[in-house]
């Protein structure tokens, strides 16, 4: 390409010492990568967790933790004729925020909660540009306006917690572009946001990049997001670059097998294969596996109903004044039927009440109104001790596999505990045998039995959580964002496992997720929730092809589609 290079990374190698005390060999997180960021371009750095993408970004900014990270000799990061790795701290600080700035994944934790957002943006301006308070104030309003925050004057006096997640990220962006940087590094800037907000932020970034003629290094795990915004794509895996090229080339003619695998193993709204391909399939075979057959989904209406929920409502009360109470309706008027062996998808953005529905069904908190009929009994009305027997029948897999397993229990203890509580399997030996059986079923080896959860990866932990539910042979499994915290390739494995289990035991799933593509893949019927209410409920193909409610339409439009670029649209506007 003909553009000038703004920043180039050459042979970057970063190693980490894992444990300060042990004299273990250092772990090399980045193994000699080289790439360029041309002027006025968006470069996307894509990879799964552990690929070294964030480490690369931190190395550019000189923000690597000094106590355990080392940049190995021979590495160079060239910017304006200087090697950033050799600059003094003072020089680097001058560069940071002014020439190169960064936005982070979690806007809430990146903003200081005790200062107003206006003050925090003005601070950058005063430090780097030496503006007077009055000038800074005027510029703050300009910036807030530019990043699309309504009523900038009022919002500049607001504290971070008074803003929504999307607005917080906009404030972060305003702060990052305050000094007209030449390079903006965005580290997973939309991962913590809802799809509709994500789309807005991506559009904003694209527009700003264009207007300010800056370069953007966009770091993400989600190839689909990249497709909308990047000019060039760099795919990383385990500290190495697997592929780099233009957006077009990477998405339409991926050369590397890993890139192809990444593109394939994410469920797409268009296809629904019997099983999702997983990365190992590609890496081992070295070629594309044969296209699997499509799976048909949907309800015929004749399947037996296993759970019927009528008018479920859950309110939370907060104290107001001495005697007053304020009611917050997390969910209300939710009614649905779950059929045996089928999956009900529950989609919505954060705060839509979808998790509340899941937890209330398990009576992990008590319903305010409504009834849940299971085999003719109302689960909400029966006394607690009677409900204990029904807990066996309905189980839940939580979102975060790092939090849902007790860190002080071995896997064996985790699996045997429900058996013990419910008196399944008479003897210790019998329970152990059952646990081993289940471990094998979810694809973990026998040695796992004596290990602790922290010795497993996220995907493996989620398998353990699923195995724990299966010990009780439930009829209904509630999956509350169960794959959202996992990498794309691991997500595919867990989805395949869930799919196999459903085929084998004809389980009924309530599949809760914010990811419409995943829900579409898994569900027979989809229920869309917004602000505690069900706005639409229909067969899954129906809802994706012919959404009726405007909110559903908005959600569907926001799904990032690889190859369909926002940039082109904006340039055309």
């Amino acid at each position: 390409m003909e553009q000038d290079i703004l920043l180039s990374v050459r042979d970057l190698r970063v190693s980490f010492r894992l444990d300060k005390l042990s004299k273990q060999a250092a772990f090399e997180a980045v193994k000699g990568i080289s790439f360029d960021i041309p002027l006025n371009t968006t470069v996307a750095l894509v990879g799964e967790s552990g690929s070294g993408k964030s480490v690369t970004a931190l190395a550019i900014l000189g923000l690597l933790p000094e106590e355990n990270a080392t940049v190995l000799p021979g590495s160079r990061i060239l910017y304006g004729g200087r090697n950033l790795l050799e600059l003094s701290r003072a020089h680097l600080r001058d560069l940071r925020g002014k020439d190169i700035s960064m936005i982070f994944q979690e806007p809430m934790t990146s903003l200081n909660p005790v200062f107003t957002v206006g003050y925090q943006i003005a601070e950058v301006l005063r430090l780097h540009l030496g503006l007077s308070p009055r000038q800074a104030q005027a510029r703050v309003l300009e910036l807030l306006n530019e990043v699309g925050i309504p009523d900038p004057l009022a919002k500049s006096l607001a504290y971070p917690f008074q803003l929504s997640g999307g607005q917080q990220q906009r404030v972060m962006i305003a702060m990052a572009i305050a000094c007209n940087p030449k390079l903006l590094i965005a580290d997973e800037p939309t991962t913590a946001l809802d799809v509709t907000i994500q789309k807005q932020i991506l559009e904003l970034l694209a527009a700003l990049q264009d207007r300010h003629h800056m370069s953007v290094l966009f770091i993400t795990h989600d190839l689909a997001v990249v497709g909308e915004i990047a000019d060039q794509v760099v795919v990383m895996r385990a500290g190495e670059i697997r592929e780099k090229g233009s957006n077009d080339q990477v998405f339409n003619q991926p050369r590397d097998i890993y890139t192809r695998a990444l593109l394939q193993c994410r469920p797409s709204p268009e296809h629904r294969p019997q099983r999702l391909p997983v990365i190992e399939d590609f890496m081992q075979a070295g070629t594309l596996p044969p296209e699997p057959a499509e799976r048909s989904r949907g309800l015929s209406g004749s399947e037996p109903v296993i759970l019927e929920v009528r008018n479920l409502g859950k309110s939370f009360f907060s104290r107001e004044g001495f005697f007053g109470q304020r009611e917050f309706k997390a969910a209300h008027g939710v009614s649905f039927r779950l059929r045996r062996g089928k999956t009900l998808g529950l989609v919505g953005e954060s705060g839509s009440g979808k998790t509340t529905v899941g937890l209330t069904l398990m009576r992990l908190h008590e319903a305010t109104t409504g009834a849940a009929l299971f085999e003719g009994r109302d689960l909400f009305a029966m006394p607690k001790h009677e409900f204990k027997a029904y807990k066996r029948r309905i189980q839940i897999v939580f979102q975060n596999p790092y939090a849902s397993l007790n860190p002080r229990f071995t896997v064996g203890q985790i699996l045997c505990e429900p058996l013990l509580i419910h008196g399944i399997g008479g003897s210790e030996a019998e329970r152990m045998r059952l646990a081993h059986e289940l471990l094998e079923r979810v694809g973990l080896d026998e040695a796992s039995y004596h290990k602790y959860p922290h010795e497993f990866s996220g995907g493996q932990r989620q398998r353990i959580a699923i195995a724990r539910c299966l010990t009780m042979k439930p009829d209904i499994l509630i999956c509350d964002e169960s794959v959202s915290a996992l990498d794309v390739s691991v997500q595919a494995q867990v989805l395949n496992l869930l799919q196999d289990l459903q085929d084998e035991f004809s389980l009924s799933y309530i599949f809760i997720s914010h990811d419409l593509a995943v829900v579409k893949y898994m569900s027979d019927e989809v229920m869309v929730m917004n602000q505690g209410e069900v706005v639409e409920c229909a067969n899954s193909d129906e809802i994706y092809l012919r959404p009726r409610h405007p909110y559903t339409q908005r959600l569907l439009n926001a799904i990032p589609k690889a190859g369909e670029r926002i940039r082109g649209q904006i340039n055309a506007d």
Binding site: R392, S404, P407, R408, H422, K451, Y452
Partner: protein, 376 residues
Amino acid sequence: MLNTLSSTTPTSPGLWALAWRRLRSDRLAMLALAVVALFLVTLLLSATGLVAKNWDAEIGVNYAPPTFVGAQSAEERGVQDMNTAEALPPENPRDPLAAVIRQLRAERAVVVGSGGAAIDDYGIVDPLAGEIAEIRSGQGKDHAAAAIERRATLPFGADKWGHDIILKTIKGSETSIVVGLSAALLATVLGTLFGAVAGYYGQWLDDFFNWFYSVFTSIPYLLLILAVAAVLQQKGVLTIVLILGLTGWTGVFRLIRAEYIKHKSREYVLAADAIGASDMRRMFIHIFPNVSHVALVQLSILSVGFIKSEVILSFLGFGVPVGVASWGSMLNEAQNELILGKWWQLAAASVAMAVLVTAFSLFTDALRDALDPKLR
């Protein structure tokens, strides 16, 4: 062979094993642990009577100085030996009462002398006289023998009665450490129990315990201790343990309560609820192991504090009864001796306590680092 063995035997260090591994690589912590262990071993030996059994034998002259200071004469020591004849203070010639005193002394000598004779004068034949005389002479011999054995100096000096300071310190450690540890254990158990119940159940139980906590903490600590001491009436090791334990649980309570509030809504506890685990099971089998490091560190911190508290209580006279050696009573005695320049009892008790407390504190710090949940 070894390879196959190690691959089949599941070796998964638990979190405690990992913490121990981290602790072991910390040299200072290991040194501190060794010191604490040394104290505990000495304590055990003393409790079983293998060491310092005869700590109250009067083997030295009164206030015998440490050997490295050197022997002192009776005048230097500022006391008269019990064996020497009653030495009277020299007369002050300018004393206006000198004549009166002299007369009184003379009268007393007469009374004593004639008293002894008077009995004989009654003419009563005492059948036991022989025996008594024998016993008296025997006593005299014993006394003489003891006097011969009493040493002018001891390695670390002696107290007012001539007890060996080093043995007394060892015996005293028994009281001090036992009081410190068991009071800390009592306080930690109470605090953990209250904290778990208040934090887990919340609502009115939490309100109740918080009210209870506020009442306890609003009373000045020393006053509270003195009040409990007054209620319990009798002095003794058990009393001190109760006093310290019953008043010291508040800090543990707050920390454990906060941990329970934090943990009860964690997903692993929800998951336990989902599989049907009872409240008790969730509280003590699921949550407790995850907050136990807090309790352990508190236990350790409290032990240090209570060893010091026992000393303070004994110093104030609310501690162990007279006749029981403890570092606190040693310090209490030392306050009178210090005026006379007898510093060795003070030094022995202070050094023993300071070394133990320092070692224990260092070990506690290292323990907290090793159990740091961030490193999980």
